[in-house]
């Protein structure tokens, strides 16, 4: 018994939906807004269903299908989604019309799809899945909450195959507001190559939909095993570090082979991340991922996708060109992220 990742699928600002990234590597993205490279959704979704789906729903549904195909498991018995802001465009659409038309002549579709669990619900309809279905909406730990639930479900024996994912979108309004709040760097001269080295205020906006097919048994398709996933809220960094050392000890790890951390280019955020990494003695094996996908509530799902891609071959794909890790055998990866210094998350995955 355990929790095994058998398949993954991600739609991201990189060429991940068609796996070109494995051949050509990551692209250098410019500016302070990294938008997804999207597939032709009509290849995945029936025309009758697709007409009503907003962009984020299509992203989520297709990423779930990609993970399911990758795992060769087309009958999941549970679906769990993490999303920090839900279907923003639908929310924006309904809200704007509500104000514009002064609460009159409003149309239902945008309202219906603004509910946060729409993605999980649409995935359930596509897969005809009557099993457990939940959606987590807690800022930068939305995906980790979903993943914790998935692992718990498998441990309980309540499900055998879970589709679990993290989905968030940037919209014009969302970007504009976050920018006004000072979250993003100024556009000029920012790119994914320099983002994590600038040591200035602000990050870049990102988006993505990433799903994993996770089961309670190891199969010949299994890519990685989830050994540990947990979030810590309102705990001190020292409490998180104590727990991290405990994880190492319980898994007979002196030092992980790799640490994938949620560096996002913001000076204050990255200072804390660096403090964590240094205190556990992992600064030489740490790499980031948000310079490739941008910062968003469920970006850690992209980080986990990167981890599983590496663990599949037990080495960093040559095309990835990640600092300090090429050529090495990688059999375990620790992922660390934090949100606003209040929420921290730790995931430990090992090769199969």
């Amino acid at each position: 018994m355990g929790a095994f990742i058998n398949g993954a699928g991600t739609i991201s600002p990189q060429s991940t939906h068609n796996n070109e990234v494995l051949k050509n590597g990551f692209m250098t993205l410019a500016g302070n807004r990294f938008s997804c490279i999207e597939p032709d959704y009509s290849q995945f979704i029936d025309v009758k269903q697709i007409r009503r789906m907003s962009r984020i729903i299509k992203m989520g549904v297709v990423a779930a299908q990609m993970a399911s195909r990758d795992a060769e498991i087309d009958n999941p018995d549970a679906i769990i989604v993490g999303t920090a802001f839900g279907c923003l465009e639908d929310t924006n659409s309904f809200l704007s019309k509500l104000v514009q038309y002064k609460e009159d002549m409003l149309s239902p579709t945008a309202f219906i799809h603004s509910t946060h669990n729409t993605i999980a619900a649409q995935v359930a309809i596509i897969f005809r899945c009557h099993g457990y279905n939940s959606t987590y909406v807690h800022k930068g730990i939305s995906f980790e909450s979903a993943l914790m639930d998935a692992v718990l479900l498998l441990e309980e024996g309540a499900s055998k195959n879970v589709l679990v994912g993290g989905v968030d979108e940037i919209t014009e309004t969302g970007f504009n507001i976050m920018n006004r709040l000072g979250l993003y760097k100024d556009d000029e001269k920012i790119n994914s190559d320099n983002l994590l080295h600038l040591k200035t205020k602000g990050t870049v906006a990102g988006e993505g939909a990433t799903f994993f097919s996770v089961s309670d048994t190891r199969t010949n398709k299994s890519i990685a095993e989830i050994k540990y996933v947990r979030t810590f809220s309102f705990n001190t960094l020292d409490e998180v570090i104590t727990e991290t050392k405990k994880i190492f000890s319980e898994n007979s790890i002196i030092k992980p082979d790799m640490l994938i951390a949620g560096f996002n280019g913001d000076e204050k955020d990255d200072k804390l991340t660096n403090e964590f990494i240094n205190k556990i003695g992992c600064s030489d094996i740490a790499t980031g991922y948000k310079h490739l996908c941008g910062e968003y509530g469920t970006a850690s799902a992209f980080g986990l996708w990167m981890a599983t891609t590496i663990l599949k071959e037990k080495r960093v794909p040559v095309a990835f060109k990640l600092d300090g890790a090429s050529g090495k055998i990688i059999e375990n990866i620790l992922l660390y992220n934090h949100h606003g210094d209040i929420h921290h998350s730790l995931i430990l995955v090992t090769s199969c």
Binding site: V47, K48, R51, R52, M105, L106, S107, P108, T109, I112
Partner: protein, 84 residues
């Protein structure tokens, strides 16, 4: 009446986001729900909004929907009878 029906077909395609459908392909008498165009209950609500936005007609009872929205013909007749 013909012009009304042509306009209705375009408005239906737009309101219901039926991108791949040519308005001319919607027959005047074609069933809109279940068979024919295969619309569902959410589409019925959208058509109620369409009536209000384009023709100033408020369909007060959702139950009248199946009769009014049976086809483009019935919709046009209803609009002619109730337009302000």
């Amino acid at each position: 009446m013909t012009e009304l029906k042509e306009n209705l077909k375009k408005q239906i395609v737009e309101q219901l986001n039926l991108k791949d459908l040519n308005p001319a392909d919607i027959g005047d008498d074609m069933p809109l729900f279940v068979e024919g165009l295969g619309l569902d209950s959410i589409d019925a609500l959208e058509l109620i909004v369409l009536l209000q936005q384009h023709y100033g007609i408020k369909l007060a009872k959702a139950e009248d929907g199946p009769i009014v929205f049976k086809s483009v013909n019935t919709m046009a007749e209803y609009i002619m009878a109730n337009k302000k």
